[in-house]
Amino acid sequence: MNWLYQDELAGPGVAGERIAIAGRILDADGQGIPDAVLELWQANAQGKYAHPEDQQEKSAHPGFQGFGRVPTTEDGSFRFTTIKPGAVLGPDGKLQAPHIVVSVFMRGLLRRLVTRIYFPDEPANAADFALNLVEPGRRGTLVAKRTTEHVGNLEWNVVIQGPDETVFFDC
């Protein structure tokens, strides 16, 4: 699968707010999972997916696919850079809060896990339809955190099992 590894989702010419998302994937014992792969799918800064079924009247960005595939390292860490996606259409004609959809793969996982990454300090999160499917106490697992060093540096972890378990969706 490594021919498709892509941890820089946005090339130099792609418009949008540059972000880097880093974190770890942890098992039930809190141990990093060294053999996991994340796949990422996101819209461009306008909130438009590079896919024929996205009929929103927004401009596509040539050269921005919006797909990433990122393996974890020995201690279960991963990192990728991209641009912050814009808001895309959700149910009932309402916009969803900006988000990246994520598939998680690893040895021992018989079906992929599906989750989402949302962004901190984002007013649209409060009304987002998918976040509102989740009990309030667990929503935070879907929202990346700002790290102190740089405004575009975000932390987001995947906890497979346990009290701080990440929310996974039946997709």
Partner: protein, 234 residues
């Protein structure tokens, strides 16, 4: 505006549960809380589109990726990618990976006491054609031991990864060979509760695609989630 026409969810028992205790690694790598049902939105009914420019022609022939020919029994694996409604899934990316004829992966964590083959990497990729057809040429992978339980051996298998038309249709699975006596003992093959669904993981020996003096042909069709109804229009 109407909502999005999503993809059908799998029938009960036709896909594995995340927790399957006989597969020991699933114990600490499966969620303990129920999944939250997510109606499909634009984010799930779209997905990455791959074009032929990224796929070398030799990527679908795993026997021609090196100077020499790999050891082992040459085979082809071909079939179609379809949805549950029987419609072809055209121009979609399939990736495969597998052990060599001796049952050894070219991967640093595979320390199985079997030889590597300098002429075999074990990775392939292809796009389906306009009718959803694909074909790989490879060698039959060997069985290999693993540490799941006492005297555990994986049946011969090829890993398949398929994208389909949308994020919602992403599938990673394994293909097995007919008549393999190890299937009955394998916790990964047996993780799918429904016997008919499980048996769809076994390829079929195919005389039609078997080539005299060249290779044995195996057929393996892959069925992805079907569309619930016609896509919405503005």
């Amino acid at each position: 505006m109407a909502n999005f026409a999503g993809y059908r969810r799998p029938y009960p028992g036709s896909q594995p549960n995340h927790l399957h205790p006989p597969y020991v690694s699933s114990m600490k790598r499966s969620p303990s809380k129920p999944l939250i049902y997510l109606p499909h939105t634009l984010s799930e009914i779209t997905g990455p589109v791959f074009d032929a420019s990224k796929i070398d022609v030799e990527a679908c022939d795993l026997t021609r990726q090196h100077k020499g020919e790999p050891l082992g029994e040459r085979i082809t694996v071909s079939g179609r990618v379809l949805d549950e409604n029987g419609r072809a899934v055209p121009h979609t990316l399939i990736e495969i990976w597998q052990a060599n004829a001796a049952g050894r992966y070219l991967h640093k964590v595979d320390q199985h006491n079997a030889p590597l083959d300098p002429n075999f990497t074990g990775c392939g990729r292809a796009l389906t054609d306009g009718e959803g057809r694909y074909r790989f040429t490879t060698i039959r992978p060997g069985e290999y031991p693993w540490r799941n339980h006492y005297n555990a051996w994986r049946p011969a298998h090829i890993h398949f990864s398929v994208f389909g038309p949308a994020f919602a249709t992403r599938l990673v699975t394994q293909m097995y060979f007919p008549g393999d006596p190890l299937l009955a003992y394998d916790p990964i093959f047996n993780c799918t509760a429904d016997e008919k669904a499980r048996n769809r993981l076994i390829s079929i020996f195919d005389w039609e695609t078997t080539e005299p003096d060249e290779w044995l042909g195996y057929k393996f069709d892959i069925v992805l989630s079907g569309r619930l109804s016609t896509p919405w229009e503005k």
